[in-house]
């Protein structure tokens, strides 16, 4: 036993501490330890090189350091006589930064003691190496995500609790394997728990997919990206022609004033209060459900306008606005407008009365005959049920004309708002009001066929809704995970296209999720190729990072500034990472590690391959 210890030490010892300079320690390597591998008891151990670990023994304390650099010095004592070996000419030195120490069996991050000069340094044996890379807490369950890049065969497992109860950031240039990593993480995660009833009930996932990578557009019935279709809802939203799916939202979310005022870029002082009045006023809203009541409402408002001597142009524009808002849901609205245009006229010099031209003569003065004649066209009107968003649009229009008539509303201030109402059409194509909850807990929302503006709005709207819902639950066991691929689309902090208020609202919403979400069991996974574009508040609040290759200097800087878990070696490796490898750092890892992400089970890969030009062109 004694002998064995001496033998092991002679093989594992690599050198001695030469100097200690703060966290940086220099180690002089023994001359015989200059190869890249050492064989030991049938196993193959990696010798020290940049990126590997060394164990420095100070008395009974085992300190673990990571090699950050190495350099050689010529041996000054060496004299080139005839009898030499190549290895004798040089001294090899390592620059090592301290990482942590062994506390009993477990490796712990952080340093309590620094080494002394002449302390002996050793290689980690396989067991110690595994302990350093053992990220699983005692009560956690492991998920295998890949193998160490620098030490093939060393599997990397991450604890489910420490990873998925945290905000995750996945960054990397396009083509560096981001989407694959994202898919792999959730593939293994779902694989492990999808059979559990409790998981289905208590965990909810929303994946925002801007490029349509996470759904199989060719075979949507057998879609098995990440997880089989039977476990997930796929919403392929589209603003093109309304053919896509519609995402269900709760009624009360739709009647949120904040949302509407921001969505319609309402000015704070006048338009927002007006919108508030319009949406909260259910007098008209109640009338939009059936033909009779809606026609009555239109008639009543026109009557009112005539009696208040409103200009004919306003009456016509009221009708035109309605026509635009509900788009042929009332069959002969077009004819009615023409009719009104041709037949309705002013009477008298003072513009104080309308009259109607008819074939039999002119009708006016007597309301008893004037109105039936005026509104006779409405009796033929067919009616198709209105969608919720059309109702809201009508509500705003009615409110506008109602106030115009009753309170002398300053139309100059409000009318720009009415012009923007057209945006509601897009919302109508992708959302529906539905208060029933879905039985599947995984939701994939594809925004590939959605226009740029809706791309910004939809994730926000949906996230806010599901976040608020989760907040209301006050249930400790319920879990919500929001996954946003290409997150710079929604989390960008310098966008010139949008107004300041909108941007603030957007960022505030997500920042709240990231700051406070943890308390309500809400976690965010964001993937992006532009970390520099994303609000630094958000990046720095993430707990775990998967960093793929980053080329752009700004992105690298953003990562350097905001991520405190990175050591120098990992940081320097960022621009040269091969595709499919990433640096995993954060709370769930004791040390930052370079991981080759494992293969996703067949059929579950995201559809994000680069096209093969040469193959397609032959």
């Amino acid at each position: 036993m004694n002998n064995q210890q001496v033998l092991d030490d002679s093989i594992f010892k690599i050198g001695e501490v030469l100097s200690v300079d703060g966290r940086k320690v220099k180690i002089k390597v023994d001359k015989t330890k200059n190869s890249s591998h050492i064989m030991y008891k049938g196993e193959l151990l990696k010798n020290t090189s940049v990126g590997s670990y060394v164990k420095i023994i100070k008395g009974y304390t085992k300190i673990i350091g990571k090699v950050e650099g190495e350099f050689v010095e010529e041996d000054k004592n060496y004299s080139p006589k005839e009898y030499t070996a190549e290895a004798n000419k040089i001294n090899r030195n390592l620059i090592v930064s301290m990482l942590g120490f062994f506390d009993g069996e477990r490796f712990k991050r952080g340093i309590k003691e620094l080494p002394l000069v002449f302390n002996e340094c050793f290689l980690l044996d396989n067991q110690e190496f595994e302990q350093v890379h053992d990220f699983i807490e005692k009560d956690d369950e492991p998920l295998e995500i890949g193998v160490l890049s620098l030490e093939k065969g060393q599997k990397i497992q991450i604890g489910v609790n420490s990873l998925f109860a945290s905000h995750i950031g996945i960054f990397g240039n396009t083509g560096s394997g981001k989407s694959y990593t994202l898919a792999k993480l959730y593939n293994v995660f779902f694989d492990k728990y999808i059979q559990n009833q409790k998981f289905l009930k208590q965990a909810k996932f929303y994946l925002f997919d801007f490029n349509g990578e996470y759904l199989d557009s060719k075979k949507s019935k057998e879609d098995s990206v990440i997880v089989d279709i039977k476990y997930k809802n796929v919403y392929n939203l589209s603003t093109r022609n309304g053919e896509g799916n519609k995402f269900p939202v709760l009624e009360k979310e739709i009647y949120d004033i904040n949302f509407w005022s921001i969505f319609l870029s309402a000015t704070e002082k006048t338009q927002t209060p007006f919108l508030k009045r319009a949406i909260e006023n259910d007098f008209y809203a109640n009338k939009f459900n059936s033909k009779e009541t809606i026609v009555d409402a239109i008639k009543d408002l026109i009557k009112l306008m005539i009696e208040k001597h409103i200009e004919k142009g306003d009456i016509l524009s009221f009708l035109r606005d309605i026509e635009k808002a509900i788009n042929k849901k009332l069959s002969n609205l077009n004819d009615i407008i023409t009719y009104f245009q041709q037949k309705l006229h002013w009477h008298g010099n003072g513009n104080d009365n309308f009259f109607v031209y008819t074939t039999s003569g002119k009708i006016y003065e007597d309301k008893q005959s004037f109105y039936p004649e005026l509104f006779q066209m409405f009796s033929n009107t067919q009616f198709i049920n209105l969608s919720d968003f059309e109702k809201i649009r009508l509500q705003i229009i009615f409110q506008y004309y109602d106030e115009l008539v009753k309170y002398d509303l300053n139309s100059e201030h409000i009318s720009p708002l009415l012009k923007r109402l057209k945006k509601i059409e897009d919302i109508d194509k992708v959302l529906k009001i539905d208060n029933t909850t879905s039985t599947k807990n995984i939701n994939v929302i594809s925004l590939k066929n959605v226009n740029t503006e809706m791309k910004k709005i939809l994730p926000l709207l949906i996230c806010k809704q599901i976040y608020d819902q989760q907040k209301q639950l006050q249930n400790k066991s319920s879990y919500l995970n929001i996954i946003v691929d290409e997150a710079h689309n929604v989390l960008s902090h310098n966008s010139n296209r949008e107004s300041e208020t909108w941007k603030d609202y957007r960022l505030e919403t997500f920042e709240e999720i990231i700051k406070e979400g943890r308390k309500f069991g809400v976690f965010l996974t964001i993937a992006s190729q532009r970390p520099s574009d994303i609000s630094s508040t958000i990046i720095s609040q993430l707990h775990n990072y998967f960093l793929h290759r980053l080329i752009n200097n700004k992105d690298i800087e953003a990562v350097e500034k905001t991520i405190s878990y990175l050591d120098k070696v990992s940081f320097e490796a960022l621009p040269i990472l091969p595709t499919g490898s990433c640096i995993f750092a954060g709370l769930a890892a004791q040390v930052p590690v370079m991981v080759d992400i494992g293969k996703i089970n067949d059929g579950h890969e995201p559809k994000s391959d680069t096209i093969k030009l040469t193959k397609n062109w032959k």
């Binding site: 591998h37 064989m39 065969g153």
Partner: protein, 406 residues
Amino acid sequence: MSDFIDEYRLIDRIQDSNINFLFGSGMSAGYLEILGNIEQLLTDLNNDETIENENQRELIRASILNKYFEGVIEKNLNILDYSHLEPEEILSIQWTLESYINFFKTINQLILSRRNKLLSKQVNIFTTNIDIFLERAIEQIGLESNDGFGKGFKPKYDLSNFKKSIFQKSLHFDNSSEIPIFNILKIHGSLTWKSEDKNIYFDSSLQGIQKVQKVKRRSLIDVDTSKDNLTSLKAKLPKRIHESNFSRFLEEYNQLAIVNPTKGKFQQTVLDQKYYDLLRIYANELEKENTLLFVMGFSFADEHIRDLTIRVADSNPTLMIYIFAFDKKSRRRLNCILGLYKDKIKNNNIKIISPNRIKEEDKYKDEFQYTFDQINERVFKKILEKISKPMTKKIFKATLEGFGNE
């Protein structure tokens, strides 16, 4: 056992270690016969007390040795010059030689590709074979080797020759670089050795064999190495034995500087000493740090080598030994003979590599057999391919395309 090159990470191991080979008779089996039970027969014969007549004993010995001579030794002359042979035999010599040549080419490339000046470029090949295939193959492809003989008109065998290395200077820049060199250590002697005045000299024309060949051998017993045992041989003994029929043969045969495949008994003192020296070198080489030993075509029937190997494996945890088993059956035999079943190998550093088993018509069969060719193809060439092929292939294609001939 899917792909053991990856599984055992052979590439990484080869890149960083001292490389040694141990060859057995299986390596030349393409042309020369393998020993069969000759060794056992000779040992049994020495131990047998029941044979009273010394002549009978000598006759059996001569018969067995003759079998060995005809099956293995005599044929070496053909390796030197095969112009007079039947086409079939020529082919079988060429094939065997080709295996050796492939082997050396591949290993040479592997050593060159390491480009590590801290590692030695010497490769040790220990062999119990006495045949001349190794030397012949190296000579044919013009690689550097060390067979223990010095230079000159009468090259003398000296162990110190084995540590010589060779540097080559480039023509244009005078850069000098060590070139890979193969040390050929013939533990059981060689047919190229002739012992004279307590020294061993180089016998380039294999005169020793020719002398034995010329001697008349008569009325020897027919030995079938696959069936016969000592009792059956004794039964074949003729009633009257003339010593003159085989005494000259034995005399000349004993002049050959080879360790006969017997267990433990050596006649010549010079050979004795060389034998122990070579075993010492074998042990020393394996004692070095980060050492790889590939055992090929060797059954470990020789107790000395077996015990020595296990002893070194136990004392050197940085040694790794891979033994190629011809088929599943020989794997079991090796397991047994090396005691791998009983966890006798404390450092876990001896691994037996055997062919995969496949199911065929309800029977399990070996997918292939680890002959010399298969070892080359499936192991060393594959490693070389993984290291260098992708690039050379591309460059090659590019140059060819440039000249418009595919």
